[in-house]
C-alpha cells in the first residue's frame, strides 16, 4: 500500500527538482552559465556566493531583508483583507453581492499592459501629496500589492468559508456573539489551512515581482531580491548567470523554510489514521 505511493511520489519529486539541479550547478560553476553544459558539477567554486555577500554593488543581504519585510507585510495584509471580504461575501446577503464577486474575477482578467505606466503616474502624484505612499517608499509598494489583495484570495477563501456550515455561526450568534466575534473567534481558526496557503501564495507572488517593485523602489538599498537579480540577466550581452543562480537559490530559501514551518498548520485537521485509509 505504501510502495505505490512512493512510485508516484519519487518520479514527481524528480520532475519537480531536476531543473533546479541545473540552477545549483550554475551557481557553483566558475564560468557561470545557466544551461550551457550538461556535465553538471564538473568544476565547483563558491565564488558566486562570495560575490553575493561581498559585492558592495549588489547589497544582496539588504535585498534579502527588504524582500522579507515586503513579502511578510503584504502576505499578512492580503490575508486579513481577503478573509474579511470573503466573510462578507460568504455570510451576508447584500445588494451587489454576486456582481461584486464577478467583478473581482473580471478585474483580474484585464490585460494590464500599461499597468506600470499608470502605477508610476499614480505614485508620483502621491509623492507630491503624501510621500510615504509615493515613489521610492516601501510602504507605497506594499499598498500597491494590497490593492490586488481582494482578487484571487477573496474568491479562494470564500469557497472555504462556504464549506463551513452556517449553523455554526448562527448558533454562536444566538448565544449573543457579535459578527466580529463570529469572524475572529469561530470562523478564522476553522479556515486556518487556507489562510496559511493564501499567505504563502501572496508571499511568493511578492517575492517574484520585479516589474512593479523595480518601478517603485529605485534606491539600491531599498530594492528587492527579484529586482536585483533580474538586473543581472536582463541585458542580452554579458549576463551574470552564476551570481544570479546563487542569488535565486538563496532567495528561494525563505519560501521553503516558511513552508516547512507552516506545513503543520496546513495539515492541522488531519490525524495519522487517515493516512492509512
Amino acid at each position: 500500500m505504501r510502495l505505490w505511493r512512493h512510485l508516484v511520489g519519487v518520479p514527481a519529486s524528480v520532475v519537480a527538482l531536476f531543473p533546479l539541479v541545473f540552477v545549483l550547478a550554475a551557481s557553483l560553476n566558475p564560468s557561470g552559465t545557466l544551461t550551457g553544459s550538461n556535465d553538471l558539477f564538473a568544476e565547483v567554486t563558491w565564488q558566486h556566493y562570495a560575490t553575493l555577500f561581498t559585492d558592495a554593488l549588489h547589497p544582496f543581504p539588504r535585498w534579502f531583508v527588504n524582500s522579507l519585510v515586503i513579502g511578510v507585510s503584504t502576505a499578512a495584509g492580503s490575508v486579513f483583507m481577503g478573509a474579511c471580504a470573503a466573510y462578507a461575501f460568504s455570510r451576508f446577503r447584500f445588494r451587489g453581492r454576486s456582481s461584486g464577486l464577478v467583478g473581482l474575477v473580471f478585474i483580474q482578467m484585464f490585460p494590464q499592459v500599461l499597468a506600470y505606466v499608470a502605477i508610476f503616474l499614480l505614485l508620483s502624484a502621491f509623492k507630491e501629496v503624501f510621500p510615504p505612499l509615493g515613489l521610492g517608499s516601501t510602504l507605497g509598494l506594499i499598498m500597491v500589492y494590497l490593492g490586488g489583495a481582494l482578487g484571487v484570495n477573496t474568491y479562494l477563501m470564500k469557497g472555504f468559508f462556504d464549506s463551513i456550515p452556517r449553523e455554526l455561526d448562527e448558533s454562536a450568534q444566538m448565544d449573543g456573539a457579535s459578527h466580529a466575534q463570529v469572524f475572529f473567534l469561530i470562523l478564522l481558526p476553522l479556515v486556518r489551512p487556507i489562510l496559511v496557503v493564501v499567505s504563502l501564495f501572496s508571499f511568493v507572488a511578492t517575492m517574484n515581482d520585479f516589474v512593479i517593485a523595480g518601478l517603485v523602489l529605485t534606491d539600491p538599498d531599498q530594492q528587492t531580491l527579484a529586482v536585483g537579480l533580474y538586473q543581472l540577466v536582463s541585458y542580452q550581452l554579458g549576463q551574470s548567470w552564476g551570481v544570479f543562480a546563487a542569488g535565486a537559490l538563496i532567495g528561494a530559501l525563505p519560501v521553503l523554510i516558511l513552508f516547512q514551518f507552516l506545513q503543520r498548520y496546513i495539515v492541522g485537521g488531519l490525524t495519522s489514521g487517515a493516512v492509512k485509509a
Binding site: L34, T35, S37, A56, F120, S124, S234, Y235, W241
Partner: protein, 396 residues
C-alpha cells in the same frame, strides 16, 4: 454623538502630530541611472563630486532591459533621473520623445575620437558624453588556433578541421538568440558582402544584391553547422571557456570575465566572408542628461568635469572592459592586447543606426535570419519579405 466627538478629537490630535514636523530643505540630489556594469565605478567617481560640491549623488542600478523605456515614460513626469548611461543608438528615441537635453562639452569634445562624438550627435545637436566604443570581434583560442584566419571561410574551415580531429566540439561560437536572431553579431559578415542596414541615403539595404548573397551565405553556414539557433550566448561562451570551440564572436563586455577563466585567447577583428571589408556595428556608450532634470547645472558639471576626465574614463574601462572613447586614454592603454584587438575591430565599425524606428528593424531582420538558419524557405525570399515588412513599418 459621543462617538463622533471622540473620533474628531483623536483625528485632530493625530493630524496635528503629522503636521508638526516640518522638513528641512534637502540638499540637491543628482540621480543617475546606470546598469550593473558601471554603477559601482560611477559611485566611486561620484564620491569626489559629492565632497567637492556639497551635494548628493544617487546612483540607481536599473536593469538594462528596461532602462531606456522607463526613462522615456518617467522623464516627462519630472520624477525620472537627471542622468542616464546607455548606448548611442537610444538617441533617436530619446530625441523623438523630447526627454534628452542637448549637452555642451565645449573644449572637452576635442578629447574624444571623432567617431564617438559623431555618434552622440543627432540632427546636428550633441546630446551625450561618450565614454566607450564597442564592437564585436573574434576571440580566438590561441592554443587551438595560433594565427588569425584571413577570411571567415578560413575561420570556419579551421574550426571544422579541429572538430574533425576531435580537438573541439563546435567549429565557431557565434551566439544566436533563439527568439530574436543575431543581426548584431552577424553584421560584420553581412557588410563584407556590401550590404548595410541603411545605405548612404538612409534607405534600407538589407535586401540589396549583397544582402541576398549574405542570406545565401548564412544558409551555408547553417548547413556547415557554423551557426545554429541552439547555440545561445551562454552556451557559446561556456564552450569557449572549456576549449570546446576555438572561436567566439563577442564584444568587450565579456572580456574581463573570460580573462579570469584562464583560457588563452587573442582578439581579432571579424574576418570578411565576402569581397569587401567586414565592418561590425560600433556602439558608443555615453551619458545623457534628462530634458526635465531639476539639476541641469549639477548634471553638466558632473559630466564635463568629473566624467570627461582620463581617470574616470580609465576607471570605467577597467570595470566594463569596453575600449575608452577618450583618445589619450586609448593611447595610454594601447599595450593591452585584448583592448587593442577590440579597439581595432571598433575602428572599422559602422555606428549602430540611431533612428527611432530601430526596434522594428531589429525584430524583423533577426526573425528572417532565424528562418534562414532553420531552413524555413529560400534565403533570398525570406530576406526580401523581411525588408518589405520593415519598409512598411518605418515608411521608407
Amino acid at each position: 454623538m459621543r462617538k463622533l466627538t471622540a473620533l474628531a478629537a483623536t483625528t485632530l490630535l493625530l493630524a496635528g502630530c503629522a503636521a508638526g514636523k516640518t522638513a528641512a530643505p534637502p540638499p540637491a540630489t543628482l540621480t543617475v541611472w546606470a546598469d550593473d556594469s558601471r554603477a559601482a565605478t560611477l559611485q566611486r567617481i561620484a564620491a569626489t563630486f559629492e565632497k567637492d560640491r556639497g551635494v548628493q549623488v544617487k546612483i540607481v542600478q536599473k536593469a538594462m532591459g528596461n532602462l531606456r523605456d522607463d526613462f522615456v515614460s518617467q522623464a516627462p513626469s519630472g520624477q525620472g533621473p537627471d542622468v542616464i548611461v546607455g548606448p548611442h543608438d537610444w538617441l533617436g528615441k530619446l530625441v523623438q520623445n523630447g526627454v534628452v537635453a542637448p549637452l555642451d562639452l565645449s573644449a572637452k569634445a576635442a578629447l574624444f575620437s571623432k567617431a564617438a562624438m559623431a555618434a552622440m550627435t543627432y540632427d546636428g545637436q550633441t546630446y551625450g558624453l561618450p565614454y566607450a566604443i564597442e564592437s564585436v570581434a573574434v576571440l580566438r583560442n590561441t592554443k587551438l588556433v595560433p594565427t588569425a584566419p584571413a577570411t571567415f571561410d578560413e575561420l570556419v574551415a579551421r574550426g571544422k578541421s579541429l572538430v574533425k580531429a576531435g580537438k573541439s566540439t563546435y567549429p565557431v561560437g557565434l551566439p544566436v538568440d533563439p527568439k530574436a536572431g543575431s543581426p548584431f553579431h552577424l553584421y560584420a559578415l553581412q557588410t563584407s558582402f556590401g550590404s548595410q542596414v541603411f545605405g548612404p541615403g538612409g534607405e534600407l539595404e538589407i535586401d540589396n544584391p549583397g544582402g541576398l548573397k549574405f542570406a545565401a551565405y548564412l544558409k551555408r553556414l547553417a548547413a556547415d553547422k557554423a551557426v545554429s539557433t541552439s547555440l545561445t550566448g551562454d552556451i557559446a561562451t561556456n564552450a569557449f571557456v572549456k576549449g570546446e570551440t576555438p572561436f567566439l564572436v563577442t564584444g568587450p563586455w565579456d572580456a574581463p570575465a573570460l580573462a579570469k577563466t584562464g583560457v588563452p585567447f587573442a582578439v581579432d577583428p571579424v574576418p570578411p566572408a565576402g569581397k569587401e571589408k567586414a565592418r561590425p556595428f560600433a556602439g558608443v556608450q555615453g551619458f545623457f542628461v534628462s530634458a526635465k532634470s531639476a539639476n541641469p547645472i549639477l548634471a553638466n558639471d558632473f559630466l564635463v568635469n568629473y566624467l570627461a576626465t582620463p581617470q574616470a574614463q580609465k576607471a570605467l574601462h577597467a570595470a566594463g572592459g569596453r575600449p575608452p572613447a577618450m583618445t589619450s586614454v586609448r593611447e595610454e592603454l594601447a599595450g593591452d592586447p585584448v583592448l587593442a584587438g577590440f579597439a581595432e575591430a571598433a575602428a572599422e565599425g559602422v555606428p549602430t543606426p540611431n533612428v527611432p524606428q530601430m526596434d522594428a528593424v531589429w525584430a524583423d531582420w533577426g526573425l528572417s535570419q532565424l528562418a534562414i538558419i532553420t531552413g524555413q524557405g529560400d534565403p533570398a525570399e525570406l530576406t526580401r519579405k523581411a525588408a518589405e515588412r520593415i519598409r512598411a513599418k518605418i515608411g521608407s
